[in-house]
Subunit: 399 residues, 2 copies
């Protein structure tokens, strides 16, 4: 645990070399080896050779990559103090969760060697349970009223369906997701791009404290004191992408970190939804881009988001659509009629009845087809027979 | 020509049996056979047997379908007078075009046996030339300001790209397409669901006359005097779908005739675009449905419509995107930097310079990587070296 805590400070997020090393020799031996590797070029080359011998690798690419990685890692080894980091977080009520723990969320395993070394956790819930049924909802910091409204409605609907919402704690859509979830007593999780002690951005610190009060979690793969940077924001997005059964982008500019999240989610096989908006709104251009590129499916309400989530490999067990299917809710009088029935209904005048032979000509149906169709329409209350012939039933209108 | 004119009155649009019969024995012989078939069950059965013998078909399904078709067609034979129909249209300056003519538009051939028997044409241009480079744009009759605006902009852009617009002459989006095309002296074509003499709906009669004045065409597969019906509206849509290199739906309710057009277009291999809109607007629900079902691609401007049209089998020769690619128009200072370059740039402070060893730790880069990256940043004017170390160049901001 201490070794993983150290690695989370030594290697930047998504460092594949670190991931592979930890997977191959384990975090403790990897750390011990790094500490003994020295800093001079010769010392590092020797240490890498020694390691490659132990793990049975001798291809030159791996050797070169490991040497380059040691050069990245070495400057941080001396100043790394995981025990102090753990103490600092413990004072804030936090703790460390590592992949070896039972409560490690399985979704993050899909990141492979780019997965986090550990999670610095604030909040009381078990991480795996909190993240069991989740949908990640992300979007623009510079959101519009439209985006805020849609993000809010989706979040409320997801809570009603028993889901945890996941987002990035940023201004705009992220904040609406966390806030709306809390407003209906739902559980929400924020992944930070900096250390878990830094409730960033400062303007959302109260909101993020509210997430913790609401049985939610604030998570980071970086140790306390770590500063968020653009690269860290972008890499943090993979944790959001991997934690959700699906990821939904509500609003995003043509270039937006949310598109990164969407692509990362699609890259590890998670369904991605994008909420469309006016083509005249720059804030929806990124969503439309995802739709055009085939990265995302168009989603317009929470039922479609749940359907999307259910399409994931495992499915969202227990999650069902909350609303009526619109096809059922929006029916026409002529639904269920066969083609002759519809043609006959079309041919019927609204008011003054017409004789059958005129209907035969106007409908293009054979006489026996027309008679059969009129019979069906009469039974269904759509056609009326009178002395002058046939007409539509009074209550039906031309739609 | 007279025989095809007669068939356009005898058989309803998209009557597959009529299409197959005309293809197999030709319109003249088909009409002669139908006129001699008689009306009693026995007479019809005998006539069908005789025909099947001639065309070398003896499967029972075909026999049954032909007999059913004769029952549909026979009531109209006596009242059909194609010469009178041609005269009536000629008085309006119109004429008949048949598949045997050079100017028959090739797109309609893709409808196979559901293709029209002929086209009743008003307007002076050749049909094939007018329809050579076309995009069909359709949408809701009950359009919104948003839809009208988008339809107008698309139409104007299509004219600028040298395209003819095709639509259905209806209120709402259709009318905006025709009107906007005419406003910039473009060519537009309206397919009517009734006879070509009926400029339907009446409120658009002036607009449709404007289409004719503007070197456009008003086309129908139905002879003069024919009444539009819902079935005819729906079947008319296949002519719009087949005439465009692509079909774009601008606004459409969850259930809308425009969705029929879109599905028909997709069914014959035409690319379909749907313009997204707010998910809170019922008028965009049909477009979103097409996107969700994979029938349509998301299109947000005329360049994307042209790209869609170019994706068709033949391509829109000579049609090119009119605007700059947005990726070029919206660039960032850090574009083109490699990963170490971006990490170094991220680590640079905005104001007070910091020494290299601090940057090594904060960037997570190896010292030699950092120095190389700083060199690149300095050359690109993004980083400044001073006595205290390195910082970002003054003019660059945090984006």
């Amino acid at each position: 645990m201490l070794a993983r805590a150290a690695w989370s400070r030594i290697a930047e997020p998504a460092d594949r070399a670190a991931g592979a090393l930890l997977r191959t020799v384990g975090p403790v031996d990897a750390l011990g080896w790094l500490q003994s590797a020295g800093t001079g070029d010769d010392a590092v080359r020797h240490a890498v050779s020694r390691l490659c011998e132990v793990i049975g690798v001798d291809d030159r690419t791996t050797v070169r990559r490991l040497a380059a990685a040691v050069a990245r890692w070495a400057p941080r080894v001396a100043t790394t103090d995981p025990a102090r980091d753990l103490d600092n977080l413990a004072r804030l009520g936090g703790r460390l969760v590592v992949p070896e723990d039972d409560e490690w969320p399985t979704g993050l395993l899909d990141l492979g060697d780019e997965g986090p070394a550990c999670l610095w956790v604030r909040g009381t819930g078990r991480v795996d349970e909190t993240l069991r049924r989740t949908v990640s909802v992300v979007g623009a910091r510079a959101s519009t009223d439209y985006g805020d409204r849609v993000a809010g409605e989706l979040s409320v609907g997801l809570v009603a369906a028993g889901c945890t919402t996941v987002s990035g704690g940023a201004y705009g859509i992220d904040a609406v997701v966390h806030r709306s979830t809390l407003a209906v007593d739902g559980t929400t999780v924020a992944f930070l791009a900096g250390g878990p002690d830094r409730l960033y951005p400062a303007g959302n610190a109260d909101l993020l404290r509210g997430v913790l009060d609401g049985a939610g979690l604030v998570l980071s793969e970086l140790p306390p004191g770590s500063v968020p940077s653009r690269v860290r924001f972008l890499r943090r997005n993979r944790l959001i992408a991997a934690s959700g059964r699906s990821t939904v982008v509500v609003e995003a500019a043509w270039r937006s970190g949310s598109l990164v999240t969407a692509r990362l989610a699609a890259g590890i096989g998670r369904p991605v939804g994008a909420v469309p908006g006016p083509v005249t709104a720059a804030g929806s251009a990124g969503c439309h881009r995802l739709l055009r590129e085939g990265v995302a499916v168009c989603v317009t309400d929470v039922d479609e988001v749940l359907e999307l989530s259910g399409a994931a490999g495992e499915g969202l067990d227990g999650i069902a659509a909350t609303g009526a299917l619109r096809d059922d809710a929006d029916t026409r009088e002529t639904d269920g009629l066969d083609a002759p029935g519809k043609a006959a209904y079309d041919a019927l005048p609204l008011r003054r009845p017409v004789p059958v032979d005129a209907l035969v000509r106007s409908s293009g149906l054979a006489p026996h087809e027309l008679m059969a169709a009129l019979g069906v329409l009469e039974v269904r209350g759509l056609a009326v027979r009178s002395t002058g012939g046939w007409s539509r039933a009074a209550s039906t209108g031309w739609s």
